[in-house]
């Protein structure tokens, strides 16, 4: 058993998993604060990446492009709150979920319609060259992405637990009515949350885009965030990271070690099957809260 090879694959998988975690983080934010499962998260990643890369291609300065895209995501948050969340406020969660599917298609169509459907390459100055750590090779880019993710998680955790807005967000997640009763303005909260999620989507989009190019398939890669959420729990920020790591590592390991025996392409379904098996044992995820149904 070639341990260094195993470690290389595992670490590569872990770092790839970080990418999934970033997308999953966006889900968690929105779910935590509004109870909505935002299927359009992947589309938001795609949109953010597309706007950013279009500006960069027009020779905009990286930082300015970032700021401008972030502004666009804020606009998106307002639009979503107005057009999706408010009209659907009394509907069961299933309807909201399906609405986000519709939203995903709408965002994709608009993004591509306005900005074009070609694949864009994106270079943010971090080369994908390997660094030697002992006997294993690790990609410099992957390490950078992991670093970014850690910083993001730290920032978000602090935001939620220490700031006034963060507390309000947690209140809203717990009980909408109660939060309203205490005077927390729901609509503003939702805009803030979707903006935060947009910010995370932007970061994820830039990193993913640099890695694999900005293209339509980004939206479906986002589906992989679902098993991440199942493993990590839908409401836990650290859970999103852990879940991502597990999915990334297990997916790569399965592909490399089990793949040759049954056929390649296992990574397409492995995370979902893993999530299913996991759900059978623990329906609320590693970190999620157990819900007791009272009759």
């Amino acid at each position: 058993m070639d341990w260094s090879f195993f470690l290389e694959v595992a670490i590569g998988g872990l770092l790839a998993g970080v990418m999934y975690s970033l997308v999953a983080l966006g889900f968690v934010l929105i779910f935590k604060a509004s109870g909505v499962f935002n299927f359009a998260q992947g589309a938001m990643v795609f949109l953010a990446a597309l706007i950013f890369v279009s500006l960069v291609e027009k020779k905009w300065n990286l930082a300015l492009a970032f700021a401008a895209t972030l502004a666009a995501m804020v606009v998106l948050a307002f639009v979503v709150e107005r057009l999706v969340l408010r009209p659907l406020v009394n509907q069961p969660p299933i309807s909201l979920f399906m609405a986000t599917i519709g939203l995903a298609y709408l965002i994709e169509g608009t993004a591509q319609g306005i900005l074009g459907a070609q694949v864009h390459g994106l270079d943010i100055g971090i080369p994908d060259t390997p660094i030697q750590l002992g006997a294993i090779n690790v990609s410099r880019f992957d390490l950078f992405a992991a670093g970014v993710a850690i910083v993001l998680v730290a920032l978000l955790s602090v935001f939620f637990s220490k700031t006034r807005v963060g507390r309000a967000l947690r209140a809203v997640a717990d009980d909408h009515q109660a939060a309203l009763a205490v005077g927390i303005p729901l609509e503003q909260i939702w805009v803030i949350v979707w903006t935060a999620s947009g910010f995370v989507a932007l970061v994820a989009g830039i990193l993913w885009g640099s890695r694999t190019g900005v293209q339509f398939s980004l939206t479906f890669t986002a589906l992989k965030a679902l098993p991440v959420l199942i493993l990590g729990g839908f409401t836990s920020i650290p859970g999103a990271i852990v879940g991502g790591l597990i999915v990334g590592a297990s997916e790569k390991l399965a592909e490399v070690y089990i793949g040759p025996k049954i056929g390649s392409g296992i990574e397409n379904w492995f995370p979902y099957v893993l999530a299913t098996l996991f759900l059978l044992v623990r329906p609320e995820g590693l970190f999620g809260e157990r819900r007791i149904e009272r009759v």
Partner: protein
């Protein structure tokens, strides 16, 4: 005025429980059947059959399947296309490997195979609910797509997994022309739709709706969860399987696993949402709507943008319109076109009076 029920009193339970208790509805439906089976074959042209009628009928069947599972039994599924794929490939293999296999029997058996696969992937629904179940059905979708592409046995060792469906010959009659394929499809779909309508208005249908509305209470009254949920998955997959077989045999002729990918699953889900969840009629309305929409958009774009519109812009427009429609229907009329139809009929009852 014409749509009054005055005077149509029911004096027996049988009469009260008919599918079309109102005489005008019965007449209208018979008219529709006559049009579908007599008029259309006579006057229709090949383009209509090939591009519109046959695919919408087949997709209505798949939408029926999904509606049973999601609209009536309340179990979300994002994997309906996967079960279509199972049906298509099962029918192909049955025809290929079993000597003297009659085509209709192969469709039926293909449906059964899809039902069994559906049952298997439906087992998790006993512990898992809601969004989580959606993820499980995604697993089904991806595993099925992968398996059918990877294991070349399914496609008789064809290089890209493409299968060429055999020709349909029933009792010596060849069903190759668009008209004939249309009539065959319409007949199969009509029969299965009737069966579905019967199921949802009997004991099983009520059991499904009970677990959709409040499963704890359903269990307490004695409705068996295991059996009811599995039957929902099984019947739903049967319908999707037959639809898949028809897709390969009566529509495209040759098909590869990618024709039944996640996009197709979403398309069927949209049909159910727009058409109306928990409605047999809705499945047909939704399918027709979604098949016609791109064509209408194209025509509109052409006349609007004089000189045509690029392919990419057109497909993006499609995505935008779909997305917007989903949002619209969910916000405004969450019971879809079927409910709009019902409201229309109610207004007709009163017309020309306002109330």
């Amino acid at each position: 005025m014409i749509y009054r029920e005055a005077g149509q009193l029911k004096s027996s339970y049988e009469a009260d429980q008919q599918i079309f208790p109102i005489l005008q509805d019965r007449i209208a439906f018979l008219g529709l059947l006559a049009a579908a089976f007599v008029l259309v074959p006579l006057v229709g042209n090949d383009y209509w059959f090939n591009a519109i009628l046959i695919p919408s009928l087949i997709l209505s069947l798949a939408a029926l399947g999904l509606n049973i599972l999601t609209g009536y039994a309340g179990q979300i599924s994002l994997g309906s296309a996967g079960f279509m794929a199972v049906g298509a490939f099962a029918a192909y293999n049955l025809m290929l490997r079993v000597p003297h296999m009659p085509v209709l029997a192969s469709f039926f058996l293909a449906g059964l195979v899809a039902a069994v696969v559906g049952l298997l992937f439906g087992l998790p629904s006993l512990r898992i609910k809601g969004f989580y179940l959606a993820v499980t059905t995604l697993a089904a979708q991806f595993v099925i797509e992968w398996a059918l592409t990877k294991f070349s046995w399914f496609s008789n060792n064809s290089p890209s997994g493409v299968i060429n469906a055999q020709k349909i010959v029933i009792l010596g009659v060849r069903f190759e022309t668009p008209v004939r394929r249309y009539v065959l499809t319409a007949a199969i779909v009509a029969l299965l739709a009737l069966a579905a309508k019967n199921l949802v208005r009997s004991r099983l249908g009520r059991a499904w709706m009970a677990i959709r509305d409040m499963d704890v209470a359903a269990e307490v009254i004695g409705i068996p969860m295991l059996k009811t949920k599995l039957l929902a998955f099984g019947v739903s997959s049967f319908y999707c399987g037959v639809a898949g077989a028809l897709w390969a045999f009566a529509y495209l002729g040759s098909v590869e696993p990618q024709a039944f990918d996640l996009n197709r699953s979403f398309q069927i889900l949209f049909m159910v949402i727009i058409g109306g969840m928990g409605s047999i009629l809705g499945s047909f309305l939704g399918a027709g709507f979604i098949v016609l929409l791109p064509i209408l958009l194209n025509v509109a774009a052409h006349s609007f943008f004089r000189g045509g519109v690029s392919q990419t812009l057109a497909s993006n427009l499609e995505l935008m319109v779909f997305g917007a429609l989903i949002l619209f229907f969910l916000a405004v009329e969450s019971h879809g076109l079927a409910r709009l139809w019902q409201i229309g009929k109610e207004k007709l009852r009163l017309w020309p009076f306002p109330h």
